[in-house]
Symmetry: C2
Subunit: 275 residues, 2 copies
Amino acid sequence: MRLVNGQPTDHLNLTDRTIQFGDGVFRTLQVQDGRVPFWSRHHAKLAADCAALGIACPSEEVLLADLHRLGVENAVVKIIVSRGESARGYAVPADILPTRMVLAAPLPAYPSALRDEGVVIRVCDTCASWQPALAGIKHLNRLENVLARREWSDPAIFEGLLLDRDGLVVEGVFSNVLILRGGQVLTPTLAASGVAGVMRGIVMELFAEKGYTVIPSDFLLAELLEAEQVWLCNSLFGLLPVRMLGERNWQILPLNGALQQTLADRCCQESLSLR
Amino acid sequence: MRLVNGQPTDHLNLTDRTIQFGDGVFRTLQVQDGRVPFWSRHHAKLAADCAALGIACPSEEVLLADLHRLGVENAVVKIIVSRGESARGYAVPADILPTRMVLAAPLPAYPSALRDEGVVIRVCDTCASWQPALAGIKHLNRLENVLARREWSDPAIFEGLLLDRDGLVVEGVFSNVLILRGGQVLTPTLAASGVAGVMRGIVMELFAEKGYTVIPSDFLLAELLEAEQVWLCNSLFGLLPVRMLGERNWQILPLNGALQQTLADRCCQESLSLR
């Protein structure tokens, strides 16, 4: 089921600027048993990303009406907000109206073993771009993620890390990264590259609640390899520890289990019912 | 008139990866009196850009059939090649088929005074991103061009320059840049940013034929300001000298007139008739 500006359709006008330029932003979120975890945070991030690019963001009411119309109980929902339609050329007409797309897809299965035993990751050859004007924003210019994801086909590899031009860790292809090191939790600043996901913010709060100092701070791959634990997070799989990267193996710390429980609780508490 | 995979339509499937990720490349070219200037070069560049991203490029025959079907005598034609349609997620299915879009728009008017007297340009605050994996390719991730173009609305300003993180000149929002300095012609290398346009290659040849040494070489804005002449080029307006940037004014050199004549001749010689 797919909606464009609230109407069921499988098509988009060819004059839409997402097709021409990737001129828009998006959100990927879950619907679980008719509830949307962290809905308010997702809308706040969508609004912030739209504001950063000068795109008019649909209101919470409008998007919730779309989610109701979509009528899914369990699904991945992708919300895309385009700057709108325009004639040829980069210039934006003054009266442009945003296009909103709401698309449902099946929920992928993430076995609980991934949360308990961790995942295997690799380092991508594709670098994260340097572009402070777009850093942090979940925009539709995602070619570097596509290229990075094309680097491996081994299903045993869960995720690939992107480094920036200086060798600093930025993110995974579809996740954010946090490391525990010397009793502190570090996560890349995303000041010049990458996407600052909603789950990253939630997980930073969880660590802080457990008494850890959480610092947005850039680190090299070598520093990640020396970490006591590495985690990935996104809005679909939540939080996953890393058990292997190349020759480096990690034991999964008891802290991971405590975080998983707290995240599951938070997910229930902070979800919105669509019923 | 618009075609998707050869069929007249105004719509694209929502599962197309141009919408999701900007996962494709494009060409903007002219049809003038039923002829396409530099067609072979445009197709060669489209094929090279597709190859760089691992996208299957439609053959010259297929695209020429589309251009015939389009049936335009005078138009701007945009050819978009998408990696194709896929389910949610960055991973690319092995059996994916490219989507080709061929879109016609009215030819914009470029008064001959622009070629003879030059244009006024500015410097954008938006920087060009650093991303060697995408540099040179005319791909669909064009948000930075959109943001740069939003910086000015004064119609007296023809174009804006993008600098990279080190202050080196990369390109204009919709054009390439060449400068004449100390008897040499320099144009940015585009090794880590920007688009290497078809007209850039043609203009480099023209300068070489006139006896100038043409060097792909990066230069700072200060060096551009010291140039004897600055030109912009793209496939729609051809070659335009710059007459003003901020406080700096340039006299248009006689060389410009000679280049314009040679380019007009070349454009006739190297064009393909659609009739």
